[in-house]
């Protein structure tokens, strides 16, 4: 009985510690982000890594999601002769929900893991300590540009992803089901409001912040050699993805 309580208590403390670390890194990142020197080269490098390098993955993900969405809704809406609304369904689903969440999850897998592995390796090989010893705050030099890049690039990726998804839907509707192109585009923009897109982009920025801080936190607090780096990398993806899905609900509740 005591053993069971013991491990429950320990688990609870571990969870609290995780949350504490996350917010500690987040707070320090915000604090250091306004201090000089600004390492523009590093910012640019990280933005290319998060943004540009993710485009192929985002392209495939959102393209096929848009296509599947059109496929499913067309078949369903056919039953009550509402095929004309397929464009609206694809556009609204992509911009409000699927674009931000899918892009967030894909980038959490791509970047969250690589941030954790990179910082974790630097930690266990004492490169983080070396930075500190050279009078350079590791949070300032390593984490600020990585989190910043993710925060700013995610909305851009989502914007691109939204557009690709809508095109994917159009491809299926027009190519496979011979829908009328003009009618499809009309239906796409008929019910789409600016707010649908912007709220999706705001969500994306939050997801970018969450996944990068999670990855950096996991990497920064890595211990235990190569095995530890592996553990951090896995945790970064799992925790990052879960945080995105959980926070999605609350952000949606607030934003819409």
């Amino acid at each position: 009985m005591m053993g069971w309580l013991d491990s429950l208590g320990r688990w609870f403390i571990d969870v609290l510690e995780e949350i504490g670390r996350f917010f500690n890194i987040l707070a320090q990142t915000l604090l250091w982000s306004v201090r000089r020197p600004f390492d523009f080269a590093e910012w640019l490098r990280q933005m290319v890594r998060v943004g540009y390098d993710s485009i192929p993955v985002i392209f495939l993900t959102t393209m096929f999601t848009g296509m599947v969405l059109a496929l499913q809704t067309y078949r369903g809406f056919e039953r009550f002769h509402a095929e004309g609304f397929v464009g609206s369904v694809v556009a609204l689903s992509m911009t409000r929900e699927l674009g931000p969440v899918l892009v967030g999850l894909m980038v959490a897998g791509r970047i969250g893991s690589s941030l954790a592995a990179e910082l974790g390796t630097m930690r266990v090989t004492e490169q983080v300590d070396a930075l500190y010893a050279m009078a350079t705050e590791p949070i300032h030099y390593l984490i600020v540009p990585r989190v910043g890049a993710s925060f700013f690039m995610l909305p851009l990726l989502v914007l691109v992803g939204d557009a690709i998804g809508i095109v994917g839907g159009w491809l299926v509707a027009v190519g496979l089901f011979h829908a009328n192109t003009v009618q499809y585009w009309h239906s796409t923009f008929q019910y789409l409001e600016v707010n649908d897109v912007t709220s999706g982009l705001i969500k994306a920025a939050f997801f970018g912040l969450i996944l990068a801080v999670t990855g950096c936190t996991k990497g920064f607090y890595t211990s235990g050699g190569a095995e530890g780096v592996g553990r951090s990398t896995t945790n970064a993806v799992v925790m990052g993805s879960l945080s995105i899905l959980l926070s999605d609900f609350f952000l949606t509740k607030i934003l819409f």
Partner: protein
């Protein structure tokens, strides 16, 4: 100690009543140590004696549970972060495996602290990088990446990076661990050379006796988180403490027989 008794200069680093525990494990129990400007101090100790933990306190990588560390007149255990950051520019530290940034080549590694903390032109940076590399006798490898270097070379590049900002204090964390005897001798010579050329205060932790006696003006020994012996190399060799003698002769100390 005896060496300093005649002149009694002011210590550049004073460690007073330093205590540090990790959970139940008391790594540093009570350390008092003065380190004087320009000397080369070697801290000996078995693996797990707390040497590395001690060294990390000198640069603020670890915060003590109790006690004070005063470096160049600043108590780094209570000084504001900005002051400590400034102070760390006066301290160069070399890490066990070099801890070079593996995303950068040798040149950029050594240039890193210079570019970060000075407004020198790229030509001046390059001059300083070459100067540092020649001091550790590693000219001509600027374009190589850390992964392409041997363990001994990586450490020397680590030394070059540590001295890039012309520090007053150099800290060496186990500079020869895992190296063969010839490389160990070479590292000892490089450390001695750097110490003599730059006139810095050097603090080295190691369990390698060849290295220790090759570079030390003064030695101290840590055991179970306290300093059990210190003195000049000659004094140290004569130290009557049975543990010190066992360590110097490579024997198992009498009070550890049961654990072996």
């Amino acid at each position: 100690m005896a060496v300093q008794a005649s002149t009694t200069p002011k210590p550049i680093i004073s460690v007073i009543g330093l205590k540090k525990s990790f959970g139940e494990k008391h790594v540093l129990r009570d350390i008092d140590l003065d380190i004087y400007p320009g000397e080369s101090l070697v801290i000996l100790g078995a693996s797990g004696a707390g040497k590395s933990v001690f060294l990390k306190h000198l640069i603020g990588l670890l915060q003590p549970d109790e006690g004070n560390v005063i470096v160049e007149g600043i108590d780094i255990t209570i000084a504001p972060a900005s002051e400590c950051l400034e102070l760390r520019k006066h301290i160069g530290m070399s890490f066990q495996e070099g801890a070079l940034f593996d995303s950068m080549n040798v040149f950029d590694n050594i240039a890193f602290p210079i570019r970060r903390h000075t407004r020198w032109s790229e030509d001046e940076v390059a001059d300083r990088v070459h100067e540092c590399l020649s001091l550790v006798r590693m000219e001509g490898i600027e374009d190589k990446f850390p992964a392409e270097l041997s363990g001994g070379m990586r450490r020397r590049v680590g030394f070059a990076r540590a001295i890039a900002l012309k520090p007053e204090i150099l800290l060496f964390d186990e500079p020869t661990t895992g190296l063969d005897p010839i490389n160990t001798a070479a590292i000892a010579r490089v450390i001695r050379h750097m110490h003599d050329q730059l006139g810095v205060t050097a603090v080295t932790i190691t369990h390698d006796l060849n290295l220790a006696f090759g570079i030390a003006d003064r030695l101290a020994m840590i055991r179970h988180g306290v300093i059990i012996a210190e003195g000049s190399p000659d004094e140290f060799r004569q130290n009557p403490d049975p543990y010190v003698q066992a360590f110097l002769n490579g024997e198992i100390p009498a009070d550890e027989e049961d654990f072996v």
